[in-house]
Amino acid sequence: MIISNYMKNEHRECDTLFASAEEAIALGEWDVAEERFLAFSNEALTHFKKEEEELFPAFEAQTGMTEGPTQVMRYEHEQVRGLLGNMAESLEAKDKDACLSLAESMMILLQQHNMKEEQMLYAMCDRVLPAELKEKTLETMKNMSL
């Protein structure tokens, strides 16, 4: 379960960063909010990059499933990227209500997405990828940055 454990940990780190950004938005501490939101965005986008450039292609090559779950996850990444843009705009405008509203959508969207990945996709990756390939993919992902 090395893939599951590593990726789940990243999800939890993103959640924590997101929660701290959301708290700063609620308190109207805009500079802190911006800084924390940036940290969260970087973490989330790096995580997406690891999946889209390493994990998903490895899974697709192994299973031949290119139109299946990985495609759904890619589409959901696009939805999150769109929301990140909207949130950045509302942060810029210091519009607290819009920002918190988008944060709520972001939280549920991310958690729905994470649940699907953690329960299905990562478990499938751990099951179908050969041990050597799994370790190699994991190592590459660990060294990736945005």
């Binding site: 701290s20 918190l100 969207l109």
Partner: protein, 428 residues
Amino acid sequence: MLNQNGLSLDQAPPIFVVFRFFFVGALFGILSGLFVLFFQETIFNAHSTEAIILTHTLTLGVMLSFMFGALFQMLPVIAGIKLTSPDLKANLLLYPFIVGIIALLFAFKLTTVSWLFLLASVLLGGSLLGIIVILLKNLFSLENHTSTSKGTTYTLLSLGIAVLFALYLTGTLAGVTEGSAYSHIKEAHYSFGLYGWIALLIISISFQVIEMFYVTPPFPKLFLNYMPATLFILLLLASLVGIFYPSIWLLADILLALLLGSYAVLTLKRFTQRKRPLTDATVWFWRLGLSSLLLSMLSLLLTLFIDYDPIKALSYIAFSSFGLSIVFAMFYKIVPFLTWFHLNSQGYISPPMMHQIIHPKMMMKHLYIHTATIVTFIFAIFIPQLIFLAGLLTILSFGWAGYQVVNAHLLYRKTQKTGKKFNMGSMY
């Protein structure tokens, strides 16, 4: 061109499936408020026909409607189950289910009209057992199980058993079966319904929802892995052994109270350990629900040793508060998110944001109304005149929830008619 819309939405049921269940649940809630106004304090005597009618309006009409609405939405996410033709399946469940409940309520009132019990049995038994079999078949075929999907399996098994026991009871009331084990089956029926279905479904869903939506530490592994199975086996054993030794229910009730009470404490503690410090109405609905569960279990323990009717009434009210508060907590996450999510996925440039669909202040107002309803019911045990106020508050509370569904629906339709869309074709 890649069909983007289909990818994610394929996994979610049509929005109106969920809305329909929630709206029907709210309507039955308003009906339960009207019953309170008509039946008054007779509802506090659990053996009265009035209490039985009110209980079934709340458990079947309200709780089952809301819970199935939520299940249709959540099963694809929490267990990866993708139902084929969800709209058709939902309708095949919903309409016979509504007529079945109305037939059952009339049957309880007009006990001499035995065919009404048979009609209710066919409609409720057929629709509920049908959907339970379909969902269980999907759950059993899962390759990767989580504590939530395992727990949901036990809850659906519990609901199935509660329905089968109900068929025996209605069969007896209709004069079809002799009913020699009537009182034992009745106890097993409501135990499976209240603890195996309502409580266990909330518990199973909470295993995932609390940690992820409120960013809390996870539940202890031991609890996640064994709690649902333990509760289910306990109910099953008590039902079987109870045929020969009815007093086994005393032990079973003590263990159930300890199990559910410890769950309430454990989950309340999680809410104090949130890394997401924002406290919206849904957090308070959860807290109210869990505190109510604790109160209900403490009063249940007391009723086993002290024969005092007000404590029994308190136990019922607190358990209702547990179920309804958490239903509202989920309702206020699902309705705004689903409306936004569907419109966003359809490519509208500026879909209404979650706070525009239901503003947090509207949720807080409902929290106050709901809390006032529960408190008024508790005071009404001792001051019977307050029962009118409790009935009116019940109507207001469910009217509020119903209004939110209608409002979200209208906003959804309006956006579809007037909203501008991205040109998805030009993206590829």
